[in-house]
């Protein structure tokens, strides 16, 4: 129901996306993995019309959107159906948590205040922030800010939510609360595309995993198959390196201890 078709993007001479296509089904949670500079964030930003692709097509609900050129009307219509969550939260500093969630409804959709606030309150409750509605972003922790940002992205009840490394800017102990909220959305059947470095999250929450490198999709599979039975060498190496450092390190130490001391 949501398709990216032949997306290309260059920054100067640097080719960032090479004819990337991605097909997402209703209810899918697609995790995009890959090393830094693989183009995963650029792909997501192109899908959110935050970066203009050089070419590419978006298909959603039988409607086509040119990723290079779009009328402001079509874009407004598209944005109502797609939510975006940023790595750095990007909450509006002059609005309370509730104000952040309702701004789009009130300004872009001209929704009456009471109606917008009812939606905002319900969403903030769902992300566990019922008691923080009147707080300004500077008074919230990173995890709380990101949860407000997720509530904001859900305000229009979008069909697809795009997450750009939603936990990368967070202290390790705050990532859990954000991932829990995303998991909760996954359980509700929300269609999502999540660019992430959280392997455990991808393994447990994603239905499908896409592995990108050098602007191309290297491998794409169900989450289970991807982790248990990776096809490409590069994918195996990536999964191994990303998930086994601790255990490898531990094994090395154990091996060192087991070595006979001295000659």
């Amino acid at each position: 129901m949501y398709t990216l078709l032949n997306v290309n993007k260059k920054f100067g001479d640097n080719v960032v996306l090479k004819n990337v296509s991605l097909d997402v089904n209703q209810g899918d949670v697609v995790a995009i993995l890959g090393p830094s500079g693989s183009g995963k964030t650029t792909l997501l930003r192109c899908a959110g019309y935050l970066t203009k692709a050089d070419s590419g097509t978006l298909i959603m609900d039988d409607q086509q959107y040119d990723m290079k050129k779009i009328s402001s009307r079509a874009l407004r219509n598209y944005r109502r159906k797609v939510g975006f969550v940023f790595q750095t939260f990007n909450l509006y500093g002059n609005k309370t948590a509730l104000g952040n969630v309702t701004l789009g409804l009130r300004v872009s959709q001209k929704m009456p205040k009471e109606q917008a606030e009812a939606i905002g309150k319900e969403l903030l409750e769902r992300v566990g922030l019922a008691d923080r509605m009147d707080y300004y972003p500077s008074k919230l922790s990173g995890g709380q800010q990101q949860r407000v940002a997720i509530a904001r992205a859900l305000a229009t009840n979008p069909e697809v939510v795009l997450f750009d490394e939603p936990t990368s800017a967070l202290d390790p102990e705050l990532t859990g609360e954000v991932l829990t909220v995303i998991k909760q959305l996954a359980d509700e059947g929300r269609t999502m595309i999540v660019v992430t470095h959280e392997m455990e999250f991808a393994r447990k929450v994603a239905t499908r995993v896409v592995f990108m490198e050098d602007g191309e999709i290297v491998e794409e599979n169900t989450a289970k198959e991807f982790f248990e039975n990776p096809q490409k060498e590069r994918t195996k190496e990536f999964i191994y390196k990303s998930t086994t450092w601790a255990s490898v390190n531990q094994k090395d130490e154990e091996a060192a201890e087991a070595l006979p001391q001295g000659e």
Binding site: R79, L91, Y92, L103, G104, V107, Q109, R152
Partner: protein, 220 residues
């Protein structure tokens, strides 16, 4: 100080104060609000890098900052009538001071707008807002908060600059003091009193600035 002078000063105080309220302050507010709008437009042109317009704005800032305000006043009030354009004293002062505020504050406003993280603008876009809606609801309110202290400086400077309009026949505080003094010859006391009036107005503005800053600080 004789009793006569005291009585004279007491009487003139009310006159000077009222002239301040009726002429100098309205001139300040009018020039400042118009100037601020100009400053915003100039800043936005610089930020969005609109070709030709950007160069024009640079030239405007260059000329206004590089020439004395009193010369600009003379050009507008005494010079323009030569080519058939006539403005009253008040309007001439308003035009010149607005242009001055616009030029001087444009850089302050530009820096303040750019101090708001670009991600918030992107978030606005994702929320379906247009560039201008984002400016009005999110970017400018935060930029104003950053720009508030330097802008307060400008408005206080502007209160005092209104005395320059004395030179283009505007009957403001200084001109009123001058008129009274030319009758009584108490120049020393009346000019001191005129200074006091400016001091009072500027003090009020300083207090307002402090209160407003504290209020803004609570809302973030």
């Amino acid at each position: 100080m004789s009793e006569r002078i005291l009585t004279e000063l007491a009487e003139s105080f009310g006159k000077l104060f009222m002239v301040g309220l009726k002429v100098s302050i309205p001139l300040t507010l009018a020039a400042f609000s118009t100037g601020l709008m100009i400053a915003f437009l100039v800043a936005l042109v610089q930020i969005t890098k609109i070709p030709v317009l950007k160069q024009l704005m640079r030239i405007y800032v260059w000329i206004i900052r590089g020439t004395p305000m009193i010369v600009q006043l003379f050009v507008v009030y005494f010079g323009l009538p030569n080519i058939g354009i006539r403005f009253s004293s008040f309007v001439s002062a308003w035009i010149v001071m607005s242009l001055s505020v616009g030029a001087y504050c444009s850089e302050t406003v530009r820096a303040a707008i750019q101090s708001v993280p670009i991600g918030q603008l992107e978030a606005c876009y994702c929320d379906g807002l247009s560039f201008w809606q984002a400016m009005i609801h999110v970017i400018v309110p935060q930029a104003l908060r950053t720009a508030f202290p330097p802008l307060s400086n400008s408005i206080i400077g502007l209160v005092k600059d209104t005395s320059l309009a004395y030179n283009v026949a505007l009957v403001e505080i200084l001109a009123t003091a001058q008129r009274i003094a030319s009758r009584t010859y108490d120049y020393f006391w009346l000019y001191l009193e005129a200074g006091l009036i400016y001091l009072i107005f500027c003090s009020v503005l300083t207090v307002v600035q402090r209160k407003t800053e504290a209020w803004l600080e609570r809302r973030r």
